[in-house]
């Protein structure tokens, strides 16, 4: 068990493993997304209230879920890096942040496009989830800005991990305070508690999209991590051997 972790944490070993893993994430991910897109757009019946506009949830929900998942990965990676001094854990944070910010942005854009026909406006401050997602995007920007403004990688790793951990405590507070705030301003909410039960032909494509996006995220994270590891280990022996090898390091 521990041997496995130590092997995974060794950069050359991880670099090789990740190469094997990427197709195992990417292929099922793309297949699930292809199924979800087809079934979501053509098979699922239109919503009785929202018509065809609801179909944007097949992008919106997975993106929103991954925006929070990526932040958790970043914070947990930072915590592991600070406590056990695993360099690879810090690299996970560095690789996950731009992906998380991208998904957050995607969730905001799709939410806003959906809001146009539903609320009649591109942006609705009264919706707590839209507002907390925006704050999450700013937290990502802060994390990346701090990371890029410290030249020393080891120092940047630790400083940004502290920030990610402080942020993760705050994300919960942000969420609840925004919910409290919007309940002051908004008479009725669009989303009823529990919500109407979803039809199976609507639900399965959504589950497929969530799973597919997660797999794809895994593949992209592994891909970014390989680059990150290679860059961080650029002065080591194994990278030099890899680059000098006949295959050219790929």
């Amino acid at each position: 068990m521990w041997k496995f972790f130590h092997q995974m944490a060794s950069p050359p070993h991880f670099y090789r493993i990740a190469k094997v893993l990427i197709p195992w994430f990417a292929v099922p991910g793309l297949m699930l997304i292809a199924y979800g897109t087809y079934a979501g757009l053509f098979v699922a019946s239109p919503d009785y209230q929202q018509g065809d506009a609801f179909r944007i949830i097949y992008i919106h929900v997975p993106a929103a879920y991954l925006s929070m998942m990526a932040y958790m990965i970043m914070a947990v990676g930072g915590g592991i890096g600070l406590i056990w001094r695993l360099k690879l854990a810090h690299a996970v944070g560095a690789a996950a942040a731009p992906l998380g910010a991208t998904f957050t942005f995607l969730a905001l854009v799709t939410g806003s496009i959906w809001g146009r026909p539903m609320w009649g406006t591109w942006w609705e401050w009264g919706d707590p989830r839209l507002t907390s997602e925006l704050i999450l995007l700013f937290l990502y920007f802060g994390y990346m800005a701090l990371r890029s403004s410290i030249d020393d990688t080891a120092k940047a790793d630790k400083a940004s991990s502290v920030l990610a951990l402080v942020g993760v405590v705050n994300v919960v507070i942000v969420h609840y305070s925004v919910v409290w705030w919007s309940s002051l301003h908004q008479g009725q909410t669009l989303f009823k508690k529990g919500g109407p039960a979803m039809d199976a032909d609507m639900l399965y494509p959504l589950l497929a999209m969530i799973l597919g996006f997660t797999f794809l995220f895994g593949a992209m994270l592994a891909r970014r991590l390989r680059t990150e590891v290679l860059y961080r280990e650029r002065r080591t022996r194994w990278v030099r051997d890899l680059v000098m090898s006949p295959e050219g390091g790929l």
Partner: protein, 222 residues
């Protein structure tokens, strides 16, 4: 243990006493931002009453932010920060001492002059008390949150802009709770929830933030 805290706080207060500009600048900034808004949105009383709590709170947040980048900077430049790091006293307690001094210098004066500015916004008397109470709790939270950001960015070139980028998203719940509680009080509605939540935030920040600040100081000064 608290001797260290008091010694650090007393030293910072003495330094501020010798350089009153550091205390007065954020205060002037606060008053000036509050003056800008009526000039921009017009002097109609209804509008001022409506926007007053929000404007005062945003101005207080920005003024606190303005004063934060000096929190560790001069200590970093003259080397006394290194002395704090190697001292046998626990670093979180020393960090709390520095934050306490920062709050006394920049937070408390804001709380004290806020009724004066609130009066120009025609805020009712009851709401003024609530404004002072929320600013009292809120500036404590902001100083503590800010000390984490200041410790992370100490010694960086682009420190000031970066500090705002780090702290503002974290400070949003404080602003939201504070400003809306005052709005509720001004509208004669039930506002206790906001006060309790701000108090809880302040207690949480006092207990947790010094550890994050201490960790950040150690990282920044490796």
């Amino acid at each position: 243990m608290f001797a260290g805290l008091l010694a650090v706080a007393r030293r910072d207060l003495l330094l501020a006493w010798k350089r009153p500009g550091d205390v007065l600048n954020p205060l002037f900034f606060f008053a000036m931002v509050c003056t800008l808004f009526p000039l921009a949105v017009g002097p109609s009383p209804e509008q001022l009453t409506f926007s007053g709590p929000g404007v005062l709170w945003v101005a207080a947040l920005l003024a606190t932010l303005l004063s934060l980048n000096t929190l560790f900077m001069s200590d970093h430049e003259d080397g006394s920060l290194d002395q704090l790091l190697v001292s046998p006293q626990p670093l979180p307690v020393l960090a709390l001492g520095k934050t306490l001094a920062h709050w006394l210098i920049s937070g408390l004066p804001l709380v004290l002059i806020s009724p004066l500015l609130a009066m120009t916004y025609r805020m009712p008397g009851d709401a003024m008390g609530v404004l002072m109470l929320t600013l009292f709790l809120g500036t404590i939270c902001l100083s503590l949150l800010g000390s984490i950001g200041a410790a992370l960015t100490v010694g960086l070139h682009r420190g000031t802009a970066l500090l705002s980028l780090l702290i503002l998203p974290l400070a949003m719940p404080v602003l939201l709770l504070g400003a809306n509680t005052v709005s509720l009080a001004a509208g004669n509605e039930v506002y206790a929830t906001g006060i309790w939540a701000l108090g809880a935030y302040a207690v949480g920040a006092i207990s947790l933030a010094p550890y994050a600040t201490a960790a950040a100081l150690r990282i920044s000064n490796e």
